[in-house]
Symmetry: C2
Subunit: 384 residues, 2 copies
């Protein structure tokens, strides 16, 4: 049915009507007082969302652009870095480090499992010469639905004392608390089409004073992704390069909506959506790909048995206009992923689970009692 699509993928996520309407305003000049007012407002809103007084810089890029900037601005060729790899995005940050000639050491865990903080502890404690310059962690691993224990890993980085902690919070910011100042996170990257409830096209990087110290001596080449240029201009409420002004309009509206809802309510809502989704999958006897103790509040990956993941995705789209994500890389065909990130309500979860039950039945999967998934989701949503 035309215009009836429902996004339950981990980005782009659903966008509120008021944000969509903000997008269609006529652009304004980016060197105008009017734009500076918007820049000031969204920067204040971003600092609120990031729970920080650090700089939060805005780039025209995807989340990958933000993360690359977050890495290359603070390091030099040959620098030793630890990269946590337990999914597609952790692997990607390792590739970025390799591309820039860093001495990249990967700390791995199987896809679907969390990184082990003790592995970081061991590597960092062994580094008595303090040669490790940065530890790069994906907080919520979008490819698997695993959330890594950033707080614990970061404690070991703090105990090391020298290394920067650089965090991919692309699908965690806005879904779960990322208390940058409280934890002392140096660099945190994220993207607009996730918890921010706006379309893709903007990316964000928060930078601590300690990271800015490292910037002074970092020598990797950069220009468009040179965060020093963004910081200098942000201080004057402007940008070094022409910003996507319409996405700024949208960001302002979305941040106002988020502030009206409140951080605690936003985080509680994501917890509730995640718990309802996971409980429903269990009631439908569909194995969850990530264990409960490391489940991302943004996305739930399911590894169905007795029914093909891609057939479920295809029929969900065809019959009910619901877009689910598939598996990436070697997980293609093995899992499907339900995004419950950003502008997603309890009603969306009930609709998705109900539709999933119908699709499972149509595909001949019989290992569940019809209604069991939606009844379970409903109970969790009303009691959590």
């Amino acid at each position: 049915m035309q215009d009836k699509s429902m996004l339950m993928i981990p980005g782009p996520t659903p966008v509120p009507e008021s944000v969509l309407l903000s997008l269609s305003k006529h652009p304004i000049g980016h060197r105008s007082g009017d734009f500076s007012e918007i820049m000031a407002a969204v920067t204040a809103g971003l600092k609120w969302l990031h729970q920080t007084t650090n700089d939060v810089l805005i780039l025209a890029a995807s989340g990958t652009g933000a993360m690359e900037a977050g890495i290359i601005n603070f390091l030099s060729a040959g620098d030793r870095v630890l990269v946590g790899c337990n999914g597609k995005f952790g692997d990607r940050w390792g590739e970025v480090c390799d591309a820039y000639g860093l001495k990249t050491e990967r700390i791995t865990a199987p896809w679907g499992q969390p990184l082990n903080p003790d592995d970081f502890k061991a590597a960092l404690e062994a580094d008595t010469a303090k040669t490790i310059k940065a530890v790069i962690i994906t907080h919520s691993e979008t490819s698997t639905g695993v959330i890594n224990d950033l707080e614990a890993i970061n404690r070991h980085v703090k105990a090391h004392g020298q290394a920067l902690i650089i965090v991919d919070a692309v699908t965690s910011l806005g879904a779960v608390s990322v208390p940058i100042d409280e934890w002392g996170l140096d660099v945190v990257g994220s993207g607009s089409q996730k918890g921010y409830m706006i379309p893709p096209g903007l990316a964000f990087v928060s930078v601590s004073p300690k990271a800015w110290e490292a910037y002074k001596t970092a020598t990797l080449p950069k220009f468009y992704l040179d965060l020093g240029k963004y910081r200098k201009d942000a201080a004057k409420n402007t940008t070094p390069f022409t910003p996507p002004v319409n996405l700024f309009f949208a960001l302002k509206t979305a941040l106002e909506m988020m502030q009206a809802e409140g951080l605690e309510n936003i985080f509680a809502r994501h917890q509730r959506l995640m718990q309802a989704t996971r409980a429903a999958m269990k009631a439908l006897n569909l194995p969850l790909y990530a264990p409960d103790h490391c489940a991302s509040p943004a996305i739930t990956a399911v590894a169905p048995q007795g029914v093909e993941a891609e057939k479920i995705r295809s029929l969900m789209k065809k019959r009910f206009d619901i877009a689910l994500a598939g598996g990436q890389d070697h997980l293609k065909g093995q899992i499907f992923r339900v995004g419950h990130l950003g502008f997603v309500s309890d009603r969306d979860i009930l609709a998705a689970i109900s539709a999933l039950e119908a699709v499972l039945g149509e595909l001949g999967y019989s290992n569940f009692s019809p209604g069991a998934g939606v009844a379970t989701a409903s109970r969790v949503l009303t009691t959590t």
Copy 2:
């Protein structure tokens, strides 16, 4: 007056209503068949606009991001490059080259004057050892309203035989013919908020087979701006990183409008707008910053005497909601710039010149006959 602003700056440029409405459609998943159809359509449209069968790749970035990609993908540290510098943007590409450790040789002309093709001829002919790897030229220099003689400079690059020609066409593409295949332009960068009639946030790079050959051995580090990744995915009508899908909707609409108008009509319109604007300024005895023979069809810079440029800009905005651009860097306060690029009609020029006459009068500038500017513009518009 609210919502009555008129952009006559060289970007963001005015955006048609249908393009604005495309922007506010709900995003779709970027790994969907629906998105691939859009990607295929806009890629075909871009090739039409670029007059090329070369790859035309789409990045989430500003024009600077596109130009940096266009430089760093095809070169290695220490490579010798010639950079044409006669304004802010030529200077910027020199800075990009410096940032990446290229052996940068600047061929300069004063701001407001065109680059001299003979200077390039001399440098290229002297290079019998063929050590020059690339020549980097800004076609329309946005900071001064000068258009450089790309065709002549490119002829000398072709005679050299080895060097790539890398072109900033940010404010020329869509305003004047840039026949990429006919001239054999290797790399051409541009941005969405200019001739494309859509808001900022997308950037474009066309790449020739010769440039792809150079890509194979180029070693400057890159990841987000690695054009090889974009080419690989574009072949499958997708993108390596999450694209700004709403800006793609807008791009599709805008390209359809441009195709309906036709390339020759678009170029003729920009010529007419430029000639009317320049003739009007002469009738008002306001000195043009760039000579006639190198006047950009996208932007006219004016260096008023007897009245302050910034006062004109300020009163144009306050009294008539018309945004003009100021001078950049050392030209601040010396010039104002009238953008006539993209979605600009004859009526807009008449409105702007009429308003300018009113403002000049209000500021006490008396070196013109009231009505002379608009009468001249009107005559040019109706006879060109």
